[in-house]
C-alpha cells in the first residue's frame, strides 16, 4: 500500500519535472522491457527494436496522462504500452512490403544490408558538421536557460493546432520586420507582448499561452544560430521581406554573436 502511494507520488512529480521522469523511466526499465517482450514474444534488442523505443515513449505518455482515479499506475501504463505497440504495429504493416536495411544479407549471416551500402559521405566533414550543430544547440540551450526555459518545456508549450502555430509564426514575422523587438527581448529578458501584439495583430492571450515557445523561436532568429535558422527554412522562406538573410537579421546576428 505504501509502495503504491510512493509510485503515485513519483508519477506526479515526473509530470512536471523532466529529470524525475527520466529517473522513473530508468527505475522501471525492466517493466517496460517485460511489457515489450510480451508483445513481441521475445526479449527486445535495445537499439535494434523500434518497439522498445515506442514502449518507453508510451510509458512516458502514461506518466503524463495518469490520474489517481485511473487505478494502479503500472496496470494503467501496461495498457498504454500495449495499445501504443498495437497502433505502431498497424502503422508499420503498411510498409510490410518494403525490405529493411537492417536485415541480414543472407540467412544466418551477421552482415546487414546497410553495411554493404557504399557510403558516399565525407565522414570527416560529417563529423565536423555534427560537432558544429551540437555546439550551436548547446549555446541555444544555455541562452534559453537564461530565460528559465528548457527544451522539454518549449516542446510542451509548442502550439499543436495549425491555426495557433500560424499565429505564432505571424508574431515571429512581425518581430523579424522590427529587429528592435528582438533586441528588447534580449535586453530585458522578457517577451514584449504588447508591442508584438500590435505589430502582428495576434491576440495577447494567444501569445501569453505560448510564451515559452515564442521566446525560443524568437531567440533562434536573434543571433548566431545559423544552423538552427537554416533548418527552419520553411519559416525563412515564408516570411517575406524580413527573411532570415535580410539586413535586419544580419545586423542583429552580428550584434549578439
Amino acid at each position: 500500500m505504501k509502495e503504491g502511494h510512493e509510485i503515485i507520488d513519483q508519477v506526479y512529480a515526473a509530470k512536471s519535472d523532466p529529470d524525475a521522469a527520466d529517473g522513473l523511466i530508468r527505475q522501471y526499465m525492466g517493466f517496460i522491457r517485460a511489457e515489450t517482450a510480451k508483445f513481441l514474444n521475445r526479449p527486445p534488442a535495445e537499439g535494434r527494436d523500434e518497439e522498445f523505443s515506442v514502449a518507453m515513449l508510451a510509458f512516458y505518455e502514461s506518466i503524463l496522462g495518469y490520474e489517481k482515479g485511473k487505478g494502479a499506475f503500472l496496470s494503467y501504463s501496461a495498457r498504454g504500452i500495449r495499445n501504443r505497440l498495437i497502433d505502431h504495429y498497424r502503422k508499420e504493416r503498411r510498409h510490410a512490403h518494403l525490405s529493411s536495411l537492417h536485415e541480414a544479407v543472407e540467412d544466418d549471416a551477421e552482415t546487414l544490408k546497410i553495411d554493404m551500402l557504399e557510403d558516399s559521405r565525407n565522414e570527416i566533414q560529417a563529423l565536423h558538421d555534427r560537432s558544429a550543430v551540437r555546439e550551436e544547440i548547446d549555446e541555444f540551450e544555455r541562452k534559453l536557460l537564461e530565460f528559465g526555459i528548457s527544451f522539454p518545456e518549449v516542446a510542451d508549450n509548442c502550439p499543436r493546432q495549425g491555426r495557433t502555430l500560424a499565429a505564432c509564426q505571424r508574431v515571429l514575422a512581425a518581430a523579424r520586420r522590427a529587429p528592435a523587438l528582438l533586441d528588447e527581448l534580449l535586453g530585458t529578458g522578457k517577451l514584449p507582448v504588447t508591442a508584438l501584439a500590435r505589430a502582428s495583430g495576434v491576440e495577447r492571450k494567444t501569445m501569453e499561452r505560448h510564451r515559452k515557445y515564442l521566446v525560443a523561436v524568437l531567440l533562434a532568429f536573434t543571433n548566431g544560430y545559423e544552423i538552427i535558422r537554416g533548418h527552419l527554412y520553411h519559416l525563412s522562406s515564408s516570411d517575406g521581406p524580413g527573411a532570415a538573410d535580410g539586413p535586419a537579421s544580419e545586423g542583429s546576428r552580428e550584434n549578439g554573436a
Binding site: 527520466d22 512516458y60 496522462g65 527552419l232 527554412y233
Partner: protein, 285 residues
C-alpha cells in the same frame, strides 16, 4: 551546412532523454518523439511523435461530437421523411357522389392533397376550387356549399360517400366522421340531404370472412331443401322468394367466394338482390 530544400519535413534532434527526444522540425515546431537511439544534432526524416493525453481527449470529444451530429442528422432526415409522408403523400381517397362526382386524395394527416372530378359535373364543380392546405372536412363542407351554390345539390338531395384505403379502420372512421360533419354543416345552412356511406362493400367484406360455403350436393332431398330455405330465406335459389325482401335485409346476402365455381348451392351470385336503397336511389338521380 546546407539542408535539403524539399517539401518533406525534417527534424533536428535538440535534446535526448531515455524515453524521448526533443525535436525541432523544419516548420518551427518543437516536438517530443520516441528516442530510437538518436543523439543531439542528428537530422532525421521520420519520427514517432508523442501523443499528449489532452490531445487524445480532445480527439475523442471531437469524434463523439461528430458522431452525435451525424446521428442527429440521420434522425432529422428520418423524421423529415416521415413527416413528409404524413402530410403530403396520399394515404386514402374519398369519393363524394353528389351527382357531380368528386374524388379527394387525403394524406395520413387529413390534408387534401389531390382533388379531381370523376364526371363532367364533378370537373365543373372542382374547377377553380383551391384545396391546397385544407383539411378534408373543410374541403368537403366547401364542396357541398359550392354544389348548393351551383344548384347541383338541393333540399332532399343525396350525397354518397365512399372512402378507400389500405386501412379498414381509416375507411370506417373517415366515412363516419365525414357523414356527421356534412350533416351538421348542411343542417347549419338549413338544407336537409340524405348522406349515405356505401355499406355494400363493407357488409360483403365482413361476411366474406365468416361465411362457410357448404359442399355442393348431387341430390337435394326435400328435407335439406326445406332447411336451406330456412337458413337463407332471401336466397335466389328458392324460386318462390321474391327480390324485395332481400333488399330489405342486405346482411342476409351471401356473396360468392372467388375460388368457387359458382355452383355453391345458393344459385346465382349476381348480388343485385342484395343491393340496398343506394342502388335504387342512384338510378333515380
Amino acid at each position: 551546412m546546407e539542408l535539403d530544400m524539399g517539401e518533406k519535413t525534417t527534424y533536428l534532434v535538440m535534446e535526448t532523454h531515455p524515453a524521448y527526444v526533443v525535436l525541432l522540425d523544419s516548420e518551427g515546431r518543437f516536438l517530443k518523439a520516441a528516442n530510437c537511439g538518436y543523439e543531439r544534432g542528428d537530422r532525421i526524416d521520420t519520427a514517432i511523435l508523442i501523443e499528449y493525453p489532452q490531445d487524445k481527449r480532445r480527439r475523442r470529444r471531437r469524434a463523439l461530437r461528430t458522431a452525435v451530429s451525424l446521428a442527429a442528422c440521420v434522425a432529422l432526415a428520418v423524421l423529415g421523411v416521415q413527416q413528409y409522408r404524413y402530410v403530403f403523400v396520399p394515404y386514402g381517397t374519398l369519393q363524394m357522389e353528389i351527382n357531380p362526382g368528386v374524388e379527394m386524395e387525403i394524406s395520413r394527416s387529413g390534408r387534401v392533397v389531390g382533388l379531381t372530378g370523376t364526371n363532367a359535373d364533378g370537373e365543373a364543380l372542382v374547377e377553380g376550387y383551391d384545396y391546397g392546405g385544407k383539411d378534408r372536412y373543410e374541403a368537403a363542407d366547401e364542396l357541398a356549399d359550392l354544389a348548393v351554390e351551383m344548384q347541383f345539390l338541393e333540399e332532399g338531395g343525396q350525397i354518397a360517400l365512399t372512402a378507400e384505403a389500405e386501412s379498414a379502420q381509416w375507411v370506417e372512421d373517415t366515412e363516419r366522421r365525414m357523414k356527421s360533419e356534412l350533416e351538421e354543416h348542411l343542417a347549419d345552412h338549413s338544407i336537409r340531404v340524405v348522406i349515405s356511406t356505401d355499406p355494400e362493400e363493407k357488409v360483403i367484406q365482413e361476411e366474406t370472412e365468416s361465411v362457410t360455403i357448404p359442399a355442393p350436393q348431387q341430390t337435394a332431398p326435400a328435407q335439406e331443401d326445406a332447411e336451406g330455405a330456412q337458413q337463407a330465406p332471401a336466397s335466389p335459389a328458392a324460386p318462390s322468394a321474391p327480390a324485395a325482401p332481400a333488399a330489405e335485409t342486405p346482411q342476409a346476402v351471401q356473396p360468392p367466394v372467388s375460388d368457387d365455381d359458382g355452383d355453391s348451392g345458393y344459385g346465382d351470385d349476381d348480388g343485385d338482390d342484395g343491393d340496398d336503397d343506394d342502388g335504387d336511389d342512384d338510378g333515380d338521380d
